[in-house]
């Protein structure tokens, strides 16, 4: 059986705008992935716990509140602390160009800004996950 791509989509912080993340959730679902959507106003703690328990390949974070410079690094640090540092983190939202480079340096694999197409997002997730298939011993 082929291994299914599992994606966690989350909205951290005080940001109630979830139309975008729902569109992405539906697109990834239709691309054959298993999408876990955790809903609004999640703490980095909740997001990282969910990412680890659900063993997702990718964590997608939607932030429209302007708090991206705080929330992305918080999620990435916590993931690394908890043994989930191999999970890819990508994001979407209203993020100024000058912040994108800093966030990518902090470990965000990819950021999609307004106007990004779902086809590009699907394509990126597939390629990024395929590129980091891990070799681990079961027994």
């Amino acid at each position: 059986m082929s291994e299914k791509i599992r994606v966690l989509l989350a909205k951290p912080g005080l940001d109630g705008h979830d139309r975008g993340v729902k569109v992405v959730a539906a697109a990834l679902r239709d691309a054959g992935m298993e999408v876990i959507y955790t809903g609004l106003r999640q703490t980095p703690e909740q997001i990282v716990t969910a990412a680890i328990q659900e063993d997702v390949d990718v964590v997608g974070v939607s932030i429209l509140s302007g708090a991206h410079m705080t929330l992305f690094p918080a999620i990435i640090d916590l993931l690394r602390q908890r043994g989930g540092g191999d999970k890819l983190v990508f994001g979407g939202g209203i993020i100024p160009d000058e912040d994108i480079a800093a966030l990518e340096k902090a470990g965000v694999s990819k950021l999609f800004t307004p106007g990004a197409s779902t086809v590009d997002i699907i394509d990126w997730v597939r390629k990024a996950v395929a590129a980091r298939k891990k070799d681990e011993k079961l027994l």
Binding site: R29, D30, I52, Q53, E54, L138
Partner: protein, 314 residues
Amino acid sequence: MSLYTEFLDGSVVALSRIISHIENRREGYQEVLSRLYRSGGRMYRIGVTGPPGAGKSSLVNRLAGLAAEAGHRVAVICVDPSSPFTGGALLGDRLRMQDIPLDKGVFIRSMGSRGSTGGLAAATSNVAVALDAFGFDTLFIETVGVGQMELDIIDACDTVVVTLVPESGDAIQALKAGLMEIADIFAVNKADRAGAEQMVYDLQSAMEMKAIHSEWIVPIVATQATGNVNLDELYRHIVGHKAFLENTGLLARKRTEQLKKKVEQVLVKSIQRDIDRTLLNGAALDEIALRIMRGEDDPYSAGQALFQRYKFGS
């Protein structure tokens, strides 16, 4: 270090990875399951089933919290439908489980049904084996939203909670076979809505008309999961049912029956996979279908011939 060794050391990351391998049937997963099975056996499994939108996730949200507060090590498996077209799934049960205290180590895992049609995924009971071996003593399994006949849950758990809503139908619906027969406990959720009292009454009458009597009187609890009304009562009935099964010896009998089915399932699946790999590979089957179309064979003889070939290897 292998995932299994890390698992034994108590790594939640390793547990999660092993669950994925079980779901994906990664090479060697059966050997891992054998070992895990032998180190488990202490977990009590509560199934929560019912139609879509009845509030199953919201009930589990409360029940898992109550169990954790009572000192149990709690895990939750929630299954949502996978698309029969794309294989994709939107797993949204976790969204309703925001009140579960994460600091008490409750483990929640969402599963896509991945082609199964009985309300669970094929791997659900195997994932439960891993959770059991990890040390969880209480498991809630939430099914896909079901209709009247998706009843796999009865083979995967000890206590079944059937969740209905006031709109779930009248006294005749309550008398029907299938879903209505498998409840150890009924929760009539969203009980603030009109018709809840009638629903409880209809269920009570239906239970009284049962010809097969059990010593267990099926409790019917009117709940409001989001408002947290009557959840402690529902939880008490679950604890009560567990005690009933243990005290009467019915738990052991139930599990023996489940094990018989499980062994059969492992056997049948192995044979099925073997047949798929050997006899039913595309070209051979195409050829047979063409012969039947040309009038040189028929499906019954062809099937029997394949069976003989499989059984005797001729």
